[in-house]
Symmetry: C2
Subunit: 344 residues, 2 copies
DNA sequence: TAGGGCCTGGACAACGTTGTCACCGGAGGG
DNA sequence: CCCTCCGGTGACAACGTTGTCCAGGCCCTA
């Protein structure tokens, strides 16, 4: 007796199960299941009795058991890089909307830019048997996902491509966007333009650098090594980079900021600078319009939506080859990018 | 034969189970379980054989089954209001960090300010048997959560209190913050101060309004009905409210913005206004410092952290009475709040 | 009125894991 | 030399749900 009690002790705080509901309603277990799932073949009267019992007991179906039985979880996982980065807000929101439209729930977590944590998180999601996975990669080796993908977990990468495996990816045109932004500065008369970007290991960062170099080359302009600074987006590092480029014997007259983190710090640094310096940043931000910052805007929502739709198409059984989708960017001229070069 | 095939057909894409691993390693099922869970009592040699089989087969434990058996999911649910609102980024990030420190995963979703959707989402999370729930309420009736709480789902509300049930809540001092902000404007000479806030149904909105009224009253100032505008945070509505207050016969000389959504629109509206108007906003935002906007800052991260810690304390069995924790706010003077009243 | 089909309801197994308990072989003590 | 004990191992039930299949009752038709 004591044994039995110990056995069923703190099990979900003793929640009622379908069995309990069945007993209370005086029907069979399966009939309760039918009512709960809206399956046909139940008399209105029986259904009413079951509903009543459900109400009284406060029964709620245990989806874990359901998942175990059915094999589908109606859940997709999202591994993003930093929940607090404003760029990812609209992106994950768009994914959530699509998931919701497909009756699925979203589980997410952030990797904090740490590849090990990305892997840990992605695999934890797989252990929860998400139907699909959307990943904003922090690392550059995703072979660890191969068994999962083989086992049927639909996987789509966003913002950055997967590393060392062949998988769907939805990206912004980092190269083209950066090239256009730098060309914009050149068109306004700049010849010495600085580029401050994220760590080159990150795909978007290196693509944007490539865009910068291409624009310069296309205009027949040389690029001094001192004009390019890559590394973490730590404010301290970025501030130093700005200072060095502006204090040089031949200072740059314009700057290109490789992403929103960098841009924020650059704007702050330039605010304290005596000479006007042109600036174009990658990524739009709220309030950037009021500050008159010219940016290359990505459509984060479209990125998320596209990726999610792709994921659900795969979950619906469409099985075409992995593909890379690239979305265009938009240059928003607001003033900071149209400042002419100032005499030194 | 065909029957058997049909039976095991598309089940997680036929993932290997512990049984498969056991067969391959030539050991018993339970031994595999022991290895997977790091339980003691397995010879190094046996363990190696099992690990090898796991590797080869690409086995990953099915947490759904585990949950079903154990009764705990090591998962907490977060119902927030809008993933894309920058205020919630740091908040959910802080919650995630605490959850991670406790070895738990976070599932979240947004209610989009719709009470029905909040309920749907919260109950879906309960069906997935999350151990705990953190809710940023959209609605003001949470009785639907009573069976869940009774069944043992630890529940903490953040940013706004629960409605009609007794539950933990972690809040910012909306009343005190607004009162201080308005008092700040009064101290700088303003007598006619407008308040533009969110819908009064929302607890924070009404508290902030109360703070505004209290500050005015404390200073012996009257409040004209035309100076108070409550409603949605739609830009169009806020713009209209700003215009009306500034175009009145006796226009306000200062504005208090009830939250970050409102503040953004107000700043935009004031940018096009000929006369300088003082402004204090509730909620800090990135770049607000560069625009010189004086704000009442809440510590979103502390809010999230406090709530999450409270949740896990409950999950650890601490069972004190539901409590309301109120965190202080900080006035950040940056210029816009220190503009003196301009002659009309 | 008997027979057949349809509709409602229930018994039972299975999903993949973990807790319980029993078994087996070897070491150590009497 | 036998008995006990213990560490390592495996058989089995149980978690709560759903799919399958069968039973019984009803109505309709011949």
């Amino acid at each position: 007796m004591a044994d039995i009690a110990r056995h069923t002790e703190h099990r979900y705080g003793n929640r009622p199960t379908m069995k309990d509901v069945a007993a209370r309603a005086g029907v069979g277990l399966k009939t309760v299941s039918r009512v709960v799932n809206g399956e046909p073949g139940v008399t209105p009267d029986t259904e009413r009795r079951v509903q009543e019992a459900i109400e009284v007991l406060g029964f709620r179906r245990n989806d874990s058991a359901r998942v175990l039985r059915k094999g589908r979880t109606a859940t997709v996982g999202l591994v993003l890089e930093d929940l607090a980065d404003p760029f990812y807000g609209p992106l994950s929101r768009a994914i959530e909307e699509v998931a919701r439209a497909h009756g699925a729930l979203l589980i997410n977590g952030s990797s904090a830019e740490d590849p090990a944590r990305e892997q840990e998180l992605a695999l934890a999601l797989c252990a929860r048997r998400v139907d699909g996975l959307i990943v904003i990669p922090a690392g550059d080796d995703h072979r660890y996902l191969e068994p999962e993908i083989r086992a049927g977990v639909a996987t789509v990468f966003v913002d950055r491509p997967a590393g060392l495996i062949d998988a769907d990816a939805v990206l912004s045109d980092s190269f083209g966007g950066a090239r256009d932004g730098v060309a914009h500065l050149i068109a306004h008369g700049h010849r010495r333009i600085g580029f401050i970007g994220d760590r080159p290991r990150i795909h978007t960062a290196s693509e944007r650098l490539r865009g910068y170099r291409t624009a310069m080359e296309d205009a027949g302009l040389p690029v001094d090594d001192a004009w390019v600074s890559l590394g973490s987006t730590e404010p301290e590092r970025v501030r130093t980079a700005v200072r060095e480029m502006l204090d040089a014997a031949e200072p740059v007259t314009a700057l290109f900021a490789g992403n929103n983190r960098v841009m924020v710090t650059v704007v702050r640094a330039l605010a304290g600078h005596p000479r006007p310096v042109a600036l174009v940043g990658f990524d739009d931000m709220e309030l950037a319009d009021l500050l008159g910052i010219t940016v290359i805007a990505q459509d984060a929502a479209a990125l998320g939506r596209t990726a999610a739709e792709r994921l659900f198409r795969r979950l619906d059984g469409v099985d075409d080859v992995p593909e890379r989708v690239v979305l265009g960017t938009t240059l928003l001229a607001r003033g900071s990018g149209e400042i002419p070069p100032s005499a030194v």
